[in-house]
């Protein structure tokens, strides 16, 4: 058994598996729907292969901690407990969506579960997270802020400014870099001057650690340690989760530029399958239990799609709402 995992309680391990499976099933449904013309508007940016990062990190958090997400958000949101029905409705642009159809998949925020300020502008999350963590520190809270960003985002100046400031002010923030080996069609070697983004932490006096992003227990174990340090005034942390974008950048991307051998290598490390196998081998879940979980998740997804399908679109002039706190505040 994985040494680190020994301390993780059985119910947490099973919960983490269930969540990973939920994310996978949710996104497999999006893959299916995006293949049908007119079914899903806009782009579909999926986190296939990265489920363990979202689940492992978020499982290590407390209820009032803040999560800041990016364009590849479905995993973060579902792991945090967002309702699949309202996420699906948002992705379809329906009035019952988490953001009333204003956002769509790329910038879904769900304040009820403290996923605030999701941005599809690459590298925008870290500076806003500095502000959230500042507010937590300012009010002497014990809560922390976690921000997810990609290996590509690590090349934005904003990320560096945020890390320096967070370290300077000892803010309670965890920078989670999901290194999925790609930024669009540019591989890590084409866009990043070093191999380990965790090493960048040293430049700001932030301990940088890397974890196996395809092993949910590894992610959880380190995230919990870093979160505890951070919660107790130890200042920011940086986690680089080494993982892989198993599908294209978005569903319109057929990965013509990806070496098939590389794909095969990572498919063999599929975090959901890998973890299922481990739980089975360690006798934590029986074959029949897997079947039950699988069926339950499929039911959740079917219900989510049905809910979204049956929901109305917003009325056109609802586009005018939500710009201002008080509607009279606007111009013209």
């Amino acid at each position: 058994m994985n040494m680190k995992a020994q301390g993780i309680e059985k119910h947490i391990r099973i919960k983490m598996y269930e969540k990973m499976l939920l994310i996978r099933k949710f996104e497999e449904k999006l893959v299916e729907l995006s293949g049908i013309d007119g079914r899903l508007p806009g782009m579909q940016i999926l986190a296939n292969g990265q489920e363990a990062v979202a689940v492992g990190v978020i499982e290590a958090l407390e209820t009032y901690d803040v999560v800041v997400s990016n364009h590849r958000s479905h995993g973060h949101l579902l792991a945090r407990g967002a309702d699949p029905k309202h996420l699906m409705a948002e992705i379809m642009g329906k009035a019952t969506g988490v953001n009333k159809g204003k956002s769509g998949t790329l910038h879904m925020s769900v304040p009820e579960i403290n996923v605030l300020m999701t941005s599809t502008v690459v590298g925008a999350g870290p500076p806003m997270s500095v502000g959230a963590a500042f507010a937590q520190q300012y009010r002497n809270e014990k809560n922390i802020t976690v921000v997810f960003f990609g290996d590509g985002a690590a090349a934005e100046g904003s990320v560096h400014e945020a890390m320096n400031l967070a370290a300077l002010w000892k803010l309670p923030i965890i920078f989670v870099c999901e290194n999925n080996c790609w930024a669009g069609a540019q591989g890590l070697g084409q866009h990043c001057s070093i191999g380990d983004i965790a090493d960048r932490g040293a430049a700001y006096g932030i301990p940088g650690e890397f974890v196996d992003g395809n092993d949910v227990e590894d992610v959880y174990y380190y995230a919990l340690q870093i979160a505890t340090r951070c919660r107790n005034g130890g200042g920011p942390g940086l986690i680089e989760a080494k993982t892989y974008r198993m599908r294209g950048h978005g569903e319109y991307d057929h990965q013509h530029y990806v070496d098939k051998k590389e794909l095969e290598k990572w498919y063999a490390l599929d975090p959901v399958k890998r973890y299922g196998k481990r739980l089975l081998n360690h006798g934590l879940m029986k074959k029949t239990e897997f079947e039950t979980v699988e069926r339950n998740m499929e039911k959740v997804i079917i219900e989510a799609v049905a809910f979204a399908d049956q929901s109305p679109y917003p009325l056109p002039d609802e586009a005018l709402e939500d710009v201002w706190a008080v509607e009279e505040g606007g111009q013209s």
Binding site: P41, G42, M43, G93, K94, G97, G101, K102, S103, G104, L106, H107, S119, T120, V121, V122, G123, G152, A153, A155, E156, G157, S158, A183, G184, A185, Q186, Q190, H191, C192, G248, H249, G250, Y252, D253, H254, H256, Y257, Y313, P314, L315, P316, D317, E318, A319, L320, V323, G330, Q331, S332
Partner: protein
């Protein structure tokens, strides 16, 4: 002449500029290896033809991309850099607005910044407001920047070549929805002088002035109104800075009525400047108030019916014209 798409016309322009002048290079996120395999993408095939020495895929670093253009142009190269979506212009804007636009002035005219920033723009893919936001008025409000906004394949090529060989920084705005649009394009080194508007449909009752794909919205409106014997003149500005005031005023002189149309939001939009110019310089020529048709003052919504609501359509133009006839 050959019939090619808007995207291919841009590609033709880039290719030609690179083949004519070694100092031209291109840079941006995925301008070499792209997730798209589509000959209608402006940089398609250039990496294979010109090698990574002149086709630079960059990290996701808009400030560095724009800074690369500023520094390299000051050294005498002719950079053509790409901003993937218009809202990310804001990340590049320090380099473009505070530097590209001002350093010639700050140097007392002794330095030159012959760079082109190609910005991919548009509203209509349900991409949401952080991918769709036409910010041309930000650029036009920055003295020192030229701002070009083509609507047809031929104009795309002709204006791009002029932009690349212009001695000053040019923000070149490409609407992605036009990339697949076909049109006749002159072969070879075809250039259109920056600052020349074009009457794309002559008329006598009212002028509709526009730019980019909104020109087609205006043309649709003209078609509808022609059935009621109302004749619209449609003026495509093509370049916002420098602005062809003369053609604008000539047209207003002819029709006495003006509707301004753009897909960007209305308040403090570029249309306000046109209205002000005409009110200042040609008030006497006007037979009716100037009308603006533009997007409502909201971020671009995602949901298809909301996005449709956002985008100005021909009926709105028709209504505006009728209100001043």
């Amino acid at each position: 002449m050959k019939t090619i798409s808007f995207g291919q016309a841009l590609n033709d322009g880039l290719d030609l500029a690179m083949s004519m002048d070694d100092s031209v290079f291109i840079a941006g996120e995925g301008v070499g290896v792209s997730i798209h395999v589509d000959p209608n993408m402006p940089t398609h095939g250039l990496l294979a033809k010109y090698s990574p020495v002149r086709v630079k895929d960059t990290p996701v670093s808009e400030a560095a991309i724009a800074g690369l253009a500023v520094g390299a142009s000051c050294m005498g190269l002719r950079p053509v850099v790409e901003i993937m979506f218009f809202p990310f212009f804001t990340l590049a804007s320090d380099m473009i607005v505070n530097h590209a636009a001002k350093l010639r002035y700050l140097s007392g005219g002794s330095s030159s910044f012959p760079l082109t920033v190609r910005v991919r723009a548009g509203v209509s893919f349900s991409a949401g407001c952080q991918h769709s936001h036409n910010l041309e008025a930000w650029a036009t409000h920055s003295p020192g920047l030229k701002v070009v906004f083509p609507s047809t394949p031929a104009d795309a090529k002709g204006l791009l070549l002029s932009a690349i060989f212009d001695p000053d920084p040019v923000v070149f705005i490409e609407e992605m929805g036009l990339y697949w649009m076909q049109g006749e394009v002159p072969e070879g080194d075809y250039r259109i002088r920056l600052g020349e508007a074009q009457v794309v449909r002559p008329g006598k009752d009212c002028t509709v002035v526009s730019y980019g794909s909104a020109v087609f919205t205006a043309l649709e409106a003209a078609k509808i109104l022609s059935e009621e014997d109302v004749s619209l003149e449609v003026l495509d500005l093509r370049s916002l800075v420098p602005l062809d005031k003369e053609s604008l005023l000539d047209s207003v002189k002819k029709t006495g009525r003006l509707v301004i149309l753009h897909d960007a939001t209305k308040f403090a939009g570029f249309g306000a400047e046109i209205a002000a110019i005409v009110a200042d310089d040609a008030f006497d020529l006007l037979k009716a108030p100037i009308k603006r048709v533009a997007a409502p003052d909201i971020p671009v919504p995602f949901s298809p019916p909301l996005e449709k609501f956002y985008k100005p359509n021909p009926e709105m133009v028709v209504k505006a014209v009728r209100s001043i006839l």
